[in-house]
C-alpha cells in the first residue's frame, strides 16, 4: 500500500507491503541506514527514532502507522563535519567502541536532554534502559550524557 510520511522534514511517498516495519522502510526503501537493525523485538534500542516527537523503536512500528506522521532519525542530528552536541560528547568521552548501538543511544540521549537538560545518573540510566551496549559497560555513555548536558548549557 502507498503511504506518505515526512522523514527528517522531507515528504516521502512509498509503496510498502502491509506488515513492513518502519525500520525496513527507513533502511531498505529510503536508504537511511543510521537506524540499526539488530534484535527486531524492541530489546536493544538500536533502531530508536522519533515518531511525531516520541521516542520509539522503529522495528516495532508498522510502516503504515507512519502514514501522515513525521519521522525523525539519527541522520537529522548531525553531519560528519558538523556533529551534534551529543555525538561530540560520545567521541570526547570514549562512549563509542564498536559503534553499532551508538545511533540509537545518540537519539535516546538527545530525546532525554530535550525533556531534562540536566539529568541525574539515575534518570540517565532509567532513560537509557531500552538501549543495549555490549562494549562500553555504560559508564562512559553516562559520562557522555553529562558532558553533552554541560556543553549544551
Amino acid at each position: 500500500m502507498t503511504i506518505t510520511t515526512t522523514v527528517n522534514g522531507v515528504e516521502r511517498t512509498v509503496d510498502v507491503p502491509p506488515a513492513t516495519s518502519l525500520l525496513t522502510l527507513l533502511r531498505d526503501e529510503l536508504g537511511l541506514t543510521g537506524s540499526k537493525n539488530a534484535c527486531e523485538q524492541g530489546e536493544c534500542g538500536s533502531c530508536s527514532v522519533w515518531l511525531d516527537g516520541e521516542l520509539v523503536c522503529a522495528c516495532l512500528v508498522a510502516a503504515v502507522q507512519a502514514d501522515g506522521r513525521a519521522v525523525r532519525t539519527v541522520e537529522d542530528l548531525g553531519q560528519p563535519d558538523r556533529l551534534h552536541t551529543v555525538q561530540d560528547a560520545f567521541v570526547a568521552t570514549g562512549a563509542v567502541q564498536c559503534g553499532f548501538c551508538t545511533p540509537g543511544f545518540v537519539v535516546a540521549v538527545a530525546d532525554l536532554l530535550e525533556r531534562d537538560p540536566h539529568p541525574s545518573d539515575e534518570t540517565i540510566r532509567e532513560a537509557l534502559a531500552g538501549n543495549l551496549c555490549r562494549c562500553t559497560g555504560y559508564s562512559k555513555i553516562v559520562a557522555a550524557v553529562h558532558l553533552a548536558a554541560e556543553t549544551a548549557a
Binding site: 502491509p18 524492541g42 516520541e54 523503536c57 516495532l60
Partner: protein
C-alpha cells in the same frame, strides 16, 4: 485503504467487521515482534493508533475508565492517583516501549505476564468490548481465558477497562532479572479497600492467567485492624499471608524461572505488599 486507518471508533468497528483478515494494531510492541520473527504474516493491518476516543480516560459514577489505546507512558505520567497502576506502567519494557505499548494491547496479548493485568484483577475490573453488533462488558476473569487466550470475538475490538474507585493504599511489584526490559517472573498487585474492609491480591506470571488469591485475601481481611490503622501487623501474620498467597500460585518451570522460585517470589512479594499497605495506611 483509508478504512483500515480509521479516525473514529465507529469507523474502526465497521472496518473490523468488513475486513476480518485485518489484524488490529495499536502500539505494535507485541504484534510487530511476531511479524518480525515470521510467526504472523498479516494480509493487512487495522491501525487503531489514530482513534483518539480510544486513548481517553475519565472518572465517572465512582469508576475509572481507561481507553484501550492509553499508552503506559501516559498512564505513568497522568494517573498518579492510582499507585498500583502507575507502578505497573513504569515497569513495562523501556521508555521506547512505554511510548507505544497500550493497556488494550496487554489485554489483547493476554499473557499471564502482562504487567497491567494483576492491577486490573486486584481492582476487580471489567474489560469493555465493542463491535458493530453492540457493546459488552466482561469481568477480567471472564475475558482472560488462558495463556494468550481471551474471549474477544472475531469482529470485536477492546475499547477499554473500567473499575470502581477504591479508598485505600495499594501497590504493584514484580521480580525479573533486571530493572528494565523484563518480562515478569512473578508479580503481585495488592489493594486495600478500607470501606469494604477487604484486602485484594492478584498474582501475575504464576498461573495460566492472572489469578486472585482468595484465601490470602480473606486471611488478611480478618487479620487487619480496620478501626486502628496504627496497629502493626505481627511478622507471623505477614508470613502466613505470604504462604496463603504462594499456595494460590500454579506456576510452571520455564526459561525465566522455576515453579519453586516463582512460589517463593510470590510469598516474598505478597508479604512486602501487605506491609507497605499497612505502612501507607498509617502514614495517610
Amino acid at each position: 485503504m483509508s478504512g483500515l486507518s480509521p479516525g473514529t471508533l465507529a469507523e474502526a468497528l465497521e472496518a473490523r467487521a468488513a475486513h476480518p483478515e485485518a489484524v488490529p494494531i495499536a502500539g505494535g510492541t507485541d504484534l510487530m515482534v511476531a511479524v518480525n520473527f515470521g510467526r504472523l504474516r498479516p494480509e493487512s493491518l487495522l491501525d487503531l493508533s489514530g482513534v483518539a476516543e480510544l486513548s481517553a480516560w475519565e472518572r465517572r459514577n465512582g469508576a475509572l475508565r481507561i481507553g484501550a489505546g492509553a499508552t503506559f507512558a501516559r498512564i505513568a505520567s497522568d494517573l498518579g492517583e492510582f499507585p498500583p497502576l502507575v507502578q505497573a506502567a513504569r515497569t513495562v519494557g523501556s521508555p521506547q516501549i512505554r511510548n507505544r505499548a497500550t493497556i488494550g494491547g496487554n489485554l489483547a496479548t493476554a499473557s499471564p505476564a502482562g504487567d497491567a493485568l494483576p492491577v486490573l484483577a486486584a481492582y476487580g475490573g471489567d474489560v469493555l468490548l465493542a463491535s458493530v453488533r453492540g457493546e459488552r462488558r466482561l469481568r477480567w476473569d471472564e475475558f482472560l481465558l488462558g495463556p494468550k487466550r481471551s474471549a474477544l470475538a472475531e469482529d470485536e475490538l477492546i475499547v477499554g477497562v473500567e473499575w470502581p474507585l477504591v479508598d485505600g493504599p495499594g501497590s504493584f511489584a514484580k521480580v525479573g532479572t533486571r530493572n528494565a526490559m523484563v518480562i515478569a517472573i512473578a508479580s503481585v498487585s495488592l489493594q486495600l479497600d478500607t470501606k469494604a474492609r477487604k484486602v485484594r491480591l492478584a498474582l501475575g506470571s504464576v498461573a495460566p492467567t492472572v489469578v486472585r488469591a482468595p484465601e490470602a485475601e480473606s486471611f488478611a481481611s480478618d487479620a487487619l485492624d480496620w478501626d486502628d490503622p496504627e496497629r502493626p501487623l505481627p511478622a507471623t501474620t505477614l508470613h502466613e499471608f505470604g504462604a496463603f498467597a504462594a499456595a494460590a500460585a500454579h506456576p510452571i518451570d520455564d526459561v525465566r524461572g522455576s515453579a519453586a522460585y516463582r512460589r517463593h517470589a510470590v510469598d516474598v512479594l505478597a508479604r512486602r505488599a501487605l506491609a507497605w499497605a499497612v505502612d501507607d495506611r498509617r502514614a495517610a
